[in-house]
């Protein structure tokens, strides 16, 4: 499934998608982890 990461014509759309997909999953993972970490840290 992995494709060449480049901003050259023909690859640009894919590159922009990969960047947004990465940002999206960073936000999703933060949403999953922050509540658990916050409560654990507060309980210490």
């Amino acid at each position: 499934m992995s494709q060449k990461f480049s901003f050259k014509k023909g690859y640009r759309g894919r590159a922009i998608f990969v960047i947004f997909n990465t940002i999206f999953f960073i936000i999703v993972m933060a949403t999953m982890l922050i509540p658990i970490i916050k409560v654990c840290v507060d309980s210490l």
Partner: protein, 283 residues
């Protein structure tokens, strides 16, 4: 080998069905069951609290079911697009994590986070100037359902993606290669190959989850309180209160029986719908 399975089915699934007869009796811990015909059902249909619980059950469960399908399929498709295998496994592990927490722990976490006194969310919203005063989200009729949907998706979306990721893995790479030769980009490949290939799985998961629509209990029970009964009380929490707290076993059995009949209608209806659209059902 079949005996333990048969015993388990008999003891936990078929034998308890004998209790259905109590739906037609007046039965409390202090009196022997007395046959009263359909009086419990007449009482049930004239009880505003019951209809409120019935509406809430449908709104919460069907909303959650639709959100679950959208989020699980969407996230499975996006995970599938992560090229790096280690990153893919890491993302999967992190989003599965909340599923392994019990509902009691999840409720405790979100009650602390949404608290009006030092709660992370209220602090953040006040600091950003979005709200002036902290909001007691868990006791607000305007916010409770949204919070409940969010917490459910937070806990179960990751787990819901597993079956769709497995289905995506099973799609023949030949189809993608052929599409690529025909000039289809990634978006078109997803739209014309991945999603149609997932439709059968989506339908099966939808029907199986539809069977559980009326069974919502634990997530509501740990998150609701008297102040939000109007928007949060579902049939199972209502049955629990009437049956175990008020000791009205006959009436609560009638409520439970009504719930089972509605579940049966929903599943049969969904299966009929599946047969019409897909040419075959799963039941």
């Amino acid at each position: 080998m079949f005996i333990p399975v048969f015993a388990q089915l008999w003891v936990f699934h078929y034998w308890p069905m004998a209790g259905i007869r109590f739906a037609f009796t007046k039965y409390t811990p202090f009196i022997q069951p007395q046959y009263i015909g359909f009086d419990n059902f007449t009482r049930l249909f004239n009880e505003p609290r019951f209809w409120s619980a019935f509406n809430n059950t449908l709104i919460l469960s069907i909303g959650n079911l639709l959100l679950s399908m959208i989020f699980s399929v969407g996230i499975a498709l996006l995970i599938n697009e992560i090229g790096n295998a280690i990153a893919k496994k890491f993302v999967q592990t992190v989003i599965y994590l909340p599923h392994f927490l019990s509902w009691v722990v999840v409720a405790a976490i979100f009650t602390i986070i949404l608290s009006t006194q030092g709660g992370f969310v209220n602090d953040l919203l006040v600091k950003l100037g979005i709200i002036d005063e902290p909001i007691y989200f868990m006791a607000s009729k305007d916010h409770w359902r949204g919070i409940w949907y969010f917490i459910n998706r937070w806990k179960e979306t990751g787990w819901g993606t597993i079956i769709f990721l497995a289905a995506i893995t099973g799609i023949s790479p030949d189809l993608y290669e052929a599409a690529e030769i025909d000039g289809a980009g990634r978006l078109k490949q997803t739209w014309y190959i991945t999603i149609p290939s997932l439709m059968n799985t989506i339908l099966v998961v939808f029907i199986l989850n539809l069977a559980k629509v009326m069974n919502v209990f634990e997530s509501v029970f740990v998150l609701y309180n008297e102040m939000v009964y109007d928007v949060s009380d579902v049939i199972k929490t209502y049955t629990y209160r009437v049956g175990l707290q008020n000791n009205d076993y006959g009436y609560s059995t009638a409520v439970g029986l009504f719930q089972s009949v509605v579940s049966l209608i929903l599943v049969t209806g969904a299966n009929w719908f599946s047969e019409k659209i897909n040419g075959r059902g799963i039941v």
